[in-house]
């Protein structure tokens, strides 16, 4: 494996230790995550891949504090989120984390601008600062001129960029993206991933993205493969071209198992 020396110098943003997650009752439970250890450093763009049922989304939800681990510890930005109470977690999510969902999860009754500014409303950001943030991020994502439109009036790609802008507006320590390209056509997907890559580089935003799409994960600088709830392998992009990295990913996938194309 190639180690990226630049990344090692950076601060650790997320640290997961022996994270386990079971569903079901005590007698009849299924362990979905079987002791995951993971470290993400500031400015990383991490992809999580794996076949259906490998526990990708569960891992993301647990790390993103949307779900609680059954055991194990998770530290984000130096704070142990696995020990926090619900109310604390909410505040933490709002202040430190950003989310991009597969089906955008925009509020239909709000305009693009209102959707983007929503997390800023309780975050202690002044109106002026929020307005600046909006102009900045919406400018980068190319949706500024659509600010007054409702979600149903814009394309899927624009919706996902709105969702991305909403995730970024609070300048979070980390952004979690769950299959952000899942509902997009390949062109919109490429455009979105390009922007995410840009934002990651230019603003140093740490991103963790779950995807089943090798093309999507080739935009990352590290890809983690899960299988049956455990870490299977890990790939660093290093200085490779995206195309070369894509090939590496495909190779791991081939070893991982036949179902490369996972039905989502």
């Amino acid at each position: 494996m190639v180690t990226d020396t630049n990344q090692i110098q950076a601060r650790t943003v997320l640290q997961a230790h022996q994270v386990r997650k079971s569903f079901g009752s005590k007698l009849n439970s299924t362990e979905v995550l079987k002791g995951i250890n993971l470290q993400v450093r500031e400015g990383e763009f991490v992809g999580i891949m794996g076949p259906s049922g490998a526990g990708k989304t569960t891992l993301l939800n647990v790390l993103a504090t949307i779900d609680r681990p059954t055991s194990g510890t998770i530290m984000i930005d130096g704070q142990e989120t696995s020990k926090m109470k619900d109310a604390q977690l909410s505040t933490f999510r709002r202040d430190k984390l950003g989310f991009i969902f597969q089906d955008y999860n925009l509020l239909d009754t709000l305009t693009v601008k209102e959707n983007i500014l929503l997390p800023a409303s309780l975050g202690g950001l002044s109106k002026k600062a929020a307005e600046e943030q909006f102009n900045d991020i919406a400018g980068i994502l190319g949706i500024k001129e659509h600010g007054h439109k409702y979600p149903h009036e814009i394309s899927g790609g624009q919706k996902q960029r709105t969702s991305a802008a909403r995730a970024l507006v609070n300048q979070p320590s980390m952004v979690f993206a769950d299959e952000p390209t899942g509902a997009l056509d390949s062109k919109s997907a490429a455009a979105l991933l390009g922007t995410l890559e840009d934002v990651n580089k230019s603003r140093g935003v740490t991103i963790m993205m779950v995807t089943h799409d090798a093309v999507a994960s080739s935009y990352c600088n590290r890809v983690i493969f899960l299988k049956d709830g455990a870490m299977y392998s890990e790939l660093y992009r290093g200085d490779k071209q995206r195309q070369a990295f894509f090939q590496d990913i495909l190779n791991v996938q081939a070893v991982l198992g036949g179902d490369r194309v996972d039905a989502r």
Partner: protein, 650 residues
């Protein structure tokens, strides 16, 4: 799995949607059954001697109750059917035929209806005694009345609710029949996308709506209302106000919120995102039902406000017409004895019974004359007409225990309970020119006195109270047939009224009542029945409108569930989300209530002329507060439902 299993399962699953509907149905059945029982129970009618009034009142009430239940049940059923359209589609998708689905729904509906019927009648049997006691208390009856089970009421209730179930079942059958799968799967999501309103058009229509309501209010209370086109005018007011209300819901509120929202320029915040935005979005679709709810609320409020005012003012209003406890008047038709003699006998009877009283003979003159003044109400047509007026001496009235002002010489105070509603302060002063025999007097009528001063010649209620000198001058000139005496009795202890009233009855000629107590008893009985009926009808209306709002909000909450999940994921706390939801519910429940109250206040204001001497602000306020408090229960239930949903969203 058999159809019966399916029915049971789906009913269990839908129980949380049903329980309020079920409760409202039970409430309807119970009320219907009790009204019907009271209407048919002969014992009650005979013993209370209220038969005619009671039976017709309850009959009208059962018809109204049926009407509101029909509206409520069909409306609620439509809402449920719409919410369950996906489920219905799913049944068809897995191979159940349309007939099968219809059967499932109809069995469910029938079970629900039958359940409500059984529980409702059971509850009715249990609480009908309580209702009867309440009614007896309201009408002022203190005896003991036994209530028996009325088979007639039972049959009536069962038949009426069977009809209700058949009607709703038929609607279900029709709906399933004409539906197709793709519609069923999209029905829930069919709500419109948010739109950008056209500012000019919505501004115009928004203001028009407000203008229509205000015009309606103004017209209803203006002097143009009371003319020979009264019926037409009333329809016009109704049309103006209801259309205006619709426009307010459909356009004005949305327009107003748009203005607020535009000023926020995207910084709408979480509370705004959960109140302003969805309200704007749904106002259009909800305009019709909100108009219906507001109109119903206004109607109910006006009804109970008016009924309670009637009940509340009974004593004062009776006093206005019958100022003394008892009166003997020679002008009464068929009087066996001249008033002085009858009064003497009555005095003897009272003495014998040990009842303390004061009595004073009052004389009065029937005069002929005319009124003239710049501001006399047109509707009375007084100007230039020759009329009869009864002239009283202020001194004598005061001696009889009546608190009247002694007018200056040449001045008079008008007492007339029959026209007091149109006489305003601005109608005074006016000039009364009266003649008794050869003597003439020109009196300056300064003000309107409270109620009547004494009952006089039947049909002549215009009474003028003048100073002693003027009275003596006219009395001296008046021919003997124009001079009359009425003997007024006032008891020292009002607790003796009932006993005295019984003694008085033997002197009472014909049906002309000069017995305050008997009149009061009569009035309180009628008004008691009215408040009883309107009170419970109002409650039924309130429960239906409140439930409909609740059901609608339940539907909206389900549609917005995803938004709550997203918001929770983004890190908003339940409490923060609830703040926005509470703000929305304040609008959803508050606006129909406020507009309803405004409408009903103006409606009551225009009928307040029924009350001669009572200020009905207090009783109306009490009735409205009671209504609003019960109404608020539904708002709290709704907020509770939302809270559960938000909590479960993550």
């Amino acid at each position: 799995m058999t159809l019966a299993d399916l029915v049971l399962r789906s009913m269990r699953k839908n129980l949380k949607h049903y329980y309020l509907y079920f409760f409202a149905l039970i409430f309807g059945v119970t009320l219907f059954f009790i009204f019907s029982t009271l209407q048919h129970d002969h014992a009650v009618m005979e013993e209370t001697a209220l038969s005619a009034k009671m039976a017709s009142g309850f009959q009208a009430a059962t018809v109204l109750l049926f009407a509101i239940l029909l509206i409520f049940v069909t409306y609620a059923n439509d809402l449920f059917l719409k919410r369950r359209s996906r489920e219905i589609g799913l049944y068809q998708l897995v191979g159940l035929t349309k007939a099968g689905v219809t059967r499932l729904l109809i069995i469910e509906n029938a079970l629900l209806g039958a359940g409500a019927l059984v529980i409702g009648i059971g509850a009715g049997l249990l609480v009908s005694r309580l209702f009867l006691l309440l009614l007896m208390k309201l009408v002022g009856y203190s005896g003991f009345v036994n209530l028996t089970f009325s088979p007639q009421a039972f049959v009536e209730t069962v038949v009426v609710f069977a009809v209700l179930i058949v009607i709703t079942s038929f609607r279900m059958f029709w709906k399933v029949r004409k539906s197709n799968l793709i519609d069923l799967f999209n029905d829930e999501r069919k709500d419109e996308h948010p739109k950008h309103p056209k500012p000019l058009r919505s501004g115009f229509l928004g203001l028009l709506g407000l203008a229509m309501i205000i015009t309606g209010y103004w017209f209803a209370n203006s002097s143009y209302m009371l003319n020979m086109f009264l019926m037409l005018n009333m329809l016009l007011v109704l049309a103006l106000v209801i259309t205006g209300t619709y426009l307010v819901f459909r356009v004005t509120i949305g327009w107003f919120l748009t203005l607020i929202r535009r000023r926020k320029n995207g910084h709408i915040g979480l509370p705004g995102a959960l109140s302003i935005a969805p309200l704007m979005h749904r106002m259009k679709a909800n305009a019709k039902s909100l108009t219906v709810i507001t109109t119903l609320s206004a109607m109910t409020l006006a009804m109970i406000g008016f009924a309670y005012s009637l009940y509340y003012s009974t004593e004062q209003e009776t006093r206005a017409v019958i100022p003394h406890d008892f009166m003997f008047d020679e002008m009464e038709q068929g009087a066996a004895l001249p008033p002085e003699e009858a009064a003497e006998q009555f005095s003897a009877e009272l003495d014998k019974a040990g009842i303390g009283y004061e009595s004073a003979p009052l004389t009065y003159i029937t005069t002929v004359g005319s009124f003239s003044g710049d501001n006399l109400p047109d509707i009375l047509g007084l100007e230039g007409r020759t009329l009869e007026a009864l002239l009283f001496d202020a001194g004598q009235l005061r001696a009889s225990g009546l608190d009247v002002r002694e007018p200056q010489k040449g001045e008079a105070v008008l007492h007339d309970s029959s026209i007091s509603w149109v006489m305003k302060d601005s109608s005074f002063p006016f000039t009364a020119t009266l003649a008794a025999g050869e003597e003439k007097a020109e009196l300056n009528v300064e003000q309107l006195g409270e109620g009547d001063v004494a009952s006089g010649w039947p049909g002549v209620l215009t009474q003028l109270v003048v100073d002693g000198d003027t009275y003596s001058r006219l009395a001296a000139a008046a021919p003997p047939e124009a001079l009359h005496t009425v003997v007024a009795f006032n008891l020292t202890d009002k607790d003796d009224l009932k006993e005295a009233s019984e003694l008085f009855r033997q002197f009472e000629p014909g049906d002309f009542k000069a017995d305050y107590f008997a009149s009061y008893e009569d009035a309180i009985a009628s008004n008691g029945i009215i408040i009883f009926i309107t009170g419970f009808l109002g409650l039924a209306f309130l429960v239906s409108t409140g439930s409909i709002l609740y059901f609608k909000q339940m539907g909206e909450a389900e549609q917005e569930k995803r938004s709550y999940t997203t918001l929770r994921q983004l890190g908003f706390k339940t409490g923060e989300i609830m703040k926005g939801i509470r703000r929305k519910q304040t609008f959803v429940f508050g606006i129909p209530l406020l507009i309803g109250i405004a409408h009903s206040i103006f409606a009551i204001k225009s009928v307040s002329i029924f009350f001669m001497t009572t200020d009905i602000k207090l009783p109306v306020a009490i009735a409205m507060t009671a209504y609003a408090l019960i109404y608020l229960v539904f708002a709290f239930l709704t907020i509770g439902y939302y809270r559960k949903m938000v909590r479960a969203a993550l």
